[in-house]
Amino acid sequence: MIIIGERVNATRKSIRAAIEAHDAPAIRNEITGQADAGADYIDLNAGTGSGDVEQEKRDLCWLVDIALDCTEKKLVLDAAETEVIAHAARHLNNRREWMLNSVNAESEPDLAAGLAVAAEFKVPVIALAMDQTGIPDNSPKRIEICGRIHAAALEKGLAEDQLFFDPLVLPISADVSQGNVTFETLAGIMKKFPHAHTTMGLSNVSHGLKKRIKVNSAFLLLSIANGLDSAICDPIKPDIMQAILLGELLTGKDRYCRRFTRALRKGVFDN
């Protein structure tokens, strides 16, 4: 399981405040905490919602510098605007392995631009299953979108295994069929593109419910059973790491149950 630590995201109030105040120690704590908890990648998102693209570019570079300094983990450059990612990518200049988050099929020029950045730096890219019509409410359409992105990516010279498809998830509270739509999309992507990866954020599924971490981690477990091999999540939360360990254990991805038994010894399941 490829774990992408999601905590350094400016949509979180504490991160936005830390970015605005240039509080480097606060960011560093968030990064090292996730690294210690088992993240493979650290996601960096500086989109404070101010709408100031130039500010976001500077902020993302500032986050990159902190990460380069405090961790050996791979990074994820995460922004809504491709030009922000491209700017941070040039600043990072492949001094660390990284992944691009994200592209989608909303607009062909934007998709091409995002894929071009990934191809230029030869890095993996997260691709969202949505297009100009938004997020389809059914899996065949989402899989079809992934197919379009797949074709465009290969044309740019990316390999299938550099694609991390995000099947997307809509809140179960508004439409109880949406869990299955995500599972079917996951299984469909893995079948159609066996070398590709799948990843996604989890928290949308439980929007509007209670005990959200329980819902999110159960959703993660079922997603792993449907082929999910990466997640954008909070590795500091025991429920999340437990779900990952159990999912891999029960789907035969944990030889001799070793990751599970090591986690037992480390006390991961003690609460």
Binding site: R255, Y256, C257, R258, R259, T261, R262
Partner: protein
């Protein structure tokens, strides 16, 4: 490495279940370093006798047994170690023949008639192979006649019977009766095991030993061969 260093390194890797360099080992930090298969080959290439390697791996399995008893190791850890030894034994096989070392004995193993459980039986088989026995696995749901025929044909010194159900363990007695009838009872030691079986039950049907788990099977066999010697 000198001979003793090879032997100790092989033992350490057995205990950590580190089969080969692709494997991560018990603590998860051994990928890329030589595992049991590579070390055994290297040791043989450097003139270490196969017999000594086999003995040291057995001693490693003893350590594993202790860790299993104490609860530090779970079943998959034990299996990882036993499979290391199993794979290494295949590498050692031709060398053991050359050195004139015989296998410890021939073993026939079966889950009895009406019973389809095989997990416990297979664990025992892995352990026995790892300890140097030649094992013929008859599978599950095997009736008494087929078991006795296999014992006769193979000339096995040991027979292991497994049953996981109170309704099927009674068929163990059928096997013992048939061995008696065929005049084979004194030629083969019969070990039984499986959740519902017990020491008392073994006595009652006239088996030679009851084994609680795979390690006990190995110990029981050691006692038998010590007495025979």
């Amino acid at each position: 490495m000198d001979k003793e260093q090879y032997l100790e390194e092989i033992k350490r890797n057995v205990v950590l279940g580190h089969a080969d360099k692709e494997d991560e080992g018990f603590d998860g930090d051994m990928e890329g370093t030589p595992g049991v298969s590579e070390l055994v080959q290297e040791a043989l290439d450097n003139g270490v006798e196969a017999k000594l390697i086999l003995e040291r791996m057995s001693s490693g399995m003893e350590t594993v047994g202790g860790k299993f008893e104490s609860g530090e190791y779970l079943i998959p850890d034990m299996l990882a170690a036993a499979e290391c030894v199993g794979a290494a034994t295949e590498i050692l096989e031709p060398h053991l023949l050359k050195e004139g070392v015989e296998r410890k004995g021939r073993f026939v193993m079966a889950t009895v008639e009406g019973d389809l459980h095989d997990i416990g039986k297979n664990i025992v088989i892995t352990m026995l192979k790892g300890d140097g026995y030649e094992v013929r696995d008859l599978g599950v749901g095997v009736d008494a006649a087929d078991i006795v025929t296999a014992v006769k044909e193979s000339g096995a010194q040991y027979l292991g019977l497994s049953a996981l159900l109170t309704t099927t363990m009674v068929h163990m007695k059928d096997v013992l009766d048939l061995l008696e009838k065929e005049g084979l009872r004194d030629k083969v030691k019969v070990l039984i095991g499986g959740a519902p079986t017990s020491e008392e039950f073994a006595k009652k049907i006239g088996a030679d030993a009851h084994c609680r788990d795979a390690f006990e099977a190995v110990h029981v066999l050691r006692d038998f061969s010590a007495k025979a010697a």
